[in-house]
C-alpha cells in the first residue's frame, strides 16, 4: 500500500514537471513552431504520467482503461491541432506553396 502511494506521488511529480517544462517552453521559445513543439510534446507526456498516477491511485482496471482512453484521445486531438496550426503558419510564411501545386 505504501509503495503504491509513493509511486503515485512520484508519477504525479514527474507529470507536473513536464507540464511546467511545456509551459516554460511556450513562454520562452521564440517562434510558433518551437512553442508548439514544447506545448504538445511535453504536455502530452505530462498528461500521460498524471493519467498513470491516477490509474494507479484508483486501482481498478476499468477506471484505468477509461483514464487511458482520455489520454489517447487527448494525444490524438492535440497532435492533430498542432499539425493544423503548424501547417497554417507554414502557409502564411510561404503563401505561394499551395497555389503552385494546384
Amino acid at each position: 500500500m505504501m509503495i503504491k502511494e509513493v509511486i503515485t506521488v512520484i508519477l504525479l511529480v514527474v507529470g507536473c514537471f513536464f507540464f511546467l517544462a511545456g509551459t516554460l517552453g511556450v513562454l520562452r521559445f521564440p517562434d510558433l513552431f518551437s512553442r508548439l513543439h514544447a506545448l504538445t510534446k511535453a504536455d502530452n507526456l505530462g498528461l500521460g504520467f498524471i493519467a498513470a498516477a491516477m490509474a494507479l491511485h484508483i486501482g481498478s482496471p476499468w477506471a484505468a482503461l477509461k483514464i487511458f482512453s482520455i489520454w489517447f484521445f487527448t494525444l490524438l486531438a492535440s497532435s492533430t491541432s498542432c499539425y493544423l496550426i503548424a501547417r497554417f503558419q507554414k502557409e502564411k510564411d510561404q503563401p505561394t506553396d499551395r497555389k503552385e501545386v494546384e
Binding site: F73, L76, A77, T80, Y83, L84, R87, K92
Partner: protein
C-alpha cells in the same frame, strides 16, 4: 488542503474573468475566456455539481470557444478586406468612447455593488437543512429516474427545461433573421487536408457513442440531454469544418424536423398528459422513466442540430463578404 484549493480556484476564476475583460487584444480575451470557462467548470466540480461542470466545460469552453474563434478569424487583419474602413470605424468608436465612458463605468460599478449585495443576501439566507434536497429525495421514486438532478430537470421542473430548449431554438431563429438562412446552399468545399479528414472520421463515431453514453447515464448519474446534445453538436461542427456541411447535405425538411423535434415532442407530450387529466408534464410514475428517456433523446438531437446550425450559419455569414470581393 481542500479549502486551499477552493480559495485558489475562486481567486483564479475572478482573476481570469477580469483579465478577459481587460485584455488588450481580442485574441487574449478569447483565450482567457476559455481558461475562465475551465476554471468555472473546476469550481462546479468542487461544489459537487458535476452536471453543471460538464455543461459548463462543453458549452462555455467548447461550443462558445468555437464561436469565438470563428468570430476572431473574422476580426483578424488578414481576412478583413477593408482595413481602412475598420480603422475609421475604430476612430469614431474611440472618440465616442472618451465622451461617454463615464456612464458605462457608473453602470458597471452600480451593477457590481448590486450583485455583491444580492450574493451576500443569498449567502445569508441559505436555508437550513439543504433547501429542497429533502423534498426532491422523497419524490425521487416517483420520478422514474435515480439521479436527483435529472429528476428535477426532466420531471419536477420539466417546464423550465422545455423553455431552455426553446431558447436555443430562438437564438437560431434570430441568426436566421439576420441573414443566415439562404446561405445553407453553399457548395461543398472538401477539406484540403487528408489528415484532418481522417481524424474527423475517426472521432465522429466516438463522439456519437460518448454522447449516447452521457444521455443514458443521465438516468442514474451526472449527464443528460444538454451534455449529449453539445457532444453531438461537436460532430456536426467537425463535419462542417471538415468540408461536409451537414445541413446543406440533408433535405431542408429533415433539417427543420431535427431542429424542432425536441421542443415539439416535449410540448405534444405535455398536451397529451393534460388531455389525460394531469397537469402539464406530470408523467404517470409507471411510464416516467421511458418517457424521460425519449424526451431526453429527442431534446439532445434538437439541441445538437440547433447548435450545429448556429455554428454553420455564423460561419457562413462571415464568408459572404469574401465571396463578394472575389467576384468583383
Amino acid at each position: 488542503m481542500s479549502v486551499l484549493i477552493d480559495i485558489i480556484l475562486a481567486i483564479l476564476a475572478i482573476y481570469l474573468a477580469f483579465q478577459s475583460l481587460l485584455a488588450k487584444r481580442l485574441t487574449q480575451t478569447v483565450f482567457i475566456f476559455f481558461a475562465f470557462g475551465l476554471a468555472l467548470a473546476l469550481a462546479w466540480v468542487r461544489l459537487g455539481a458535476i452536471d453543471v461542470a460538464i455543461t459548463e466545460a462543453a458549452i462555455a469552453a467548447g461550443f462558445m470557444g468555437v464561436l469565438f474563434l470563428d468570430a476572431l478569424r473574422d476580426f483578424s487583419p488578414r481576412t478583413s478586406n477593408n482595413q481602412e474602413k475598420t480603422e475609421a470605424a475604430k476612430d469614431i468608436f474611440s472618440k465616442k468612447n472618451t465622451k461617454s465612458l463615464l456612464l458605462p463605468r457608473v453602470a458597471l460599478v452600480l451593477g457590481l455593488v448590486l450583485f455583491l449585495l444580492i450574493s451576500l443576501e443569498a449567502i445569508w439566507n441559505i436555508p437550513d437543512g439543504g433547501g429542497l434536497t429533502v423534498s426532491v429525495e422523497t419524490m425521487l421514486p416517483e420520478s422514474g429516474v435515480e439521479h436527483p438532478v435529472t429528476a428535477v430537470l426532466l420531471n419536477f421542473r420539466a417546464y423550465d427545461t422545455w423553455l431552455e430548449i426553446g431558447v436555443i431554438l430562438l437564438g437560431l431563429l434570430a441568426i436566421f433573421a439576420t441573414g443566415g438562412i439562404k446561405l445553407y446552399l453553399k457548395p461543398d468545399v472538401p477539406a484540403q487536408d487528408i489528415l484532418l479528414r481522417q481524424v474527423i472520421l475517426f472521432f465522429t463515431p466516438i463522439l456519437f457513442l460518448f454522447g449516447a453514453f452521457l444521455l443514458y447515464i443521465g438516468k442514474s448519474g451526472p449527464g443528460g440531454a444538454f451534455q449529449a446534445g453539445v457532444l453531438w453538436a461537436a460532430i456536426g461542427i467537425l463535419l462542417h469544418l471538415g468540408g461536409k456541411p451537414v445541413f446543406s447535405m440533408i433535405p431542408r425538411w429533415l433539417g427543420q424536423l431535427l431542429l424542432t423535434l425536441g421542443l415539439g415532442f416535449f410540448l405534444l407530450l405535455g398536451f397529451i398528459l393534460m388531455a389525460g387529466g394531469a397537469t402539464l408534464f406530470e408523467y404517470p410514475p409507471a411510464y416516467a422513466g421511458v418517457l424521460i428517456l425519449i424526451v431526453e433523446t429527442l431534446a439532445a438531437i434538437s439541441i445538437a442540430a440547433a447548435l450545429t446550425a448556429i455554428f454553420a450559419n455564423l460561419n457562413q455569414m462571415q464568408e459572404k463578404p469574401n465571396d463578394i470581393e472575389s467576384t468583383t
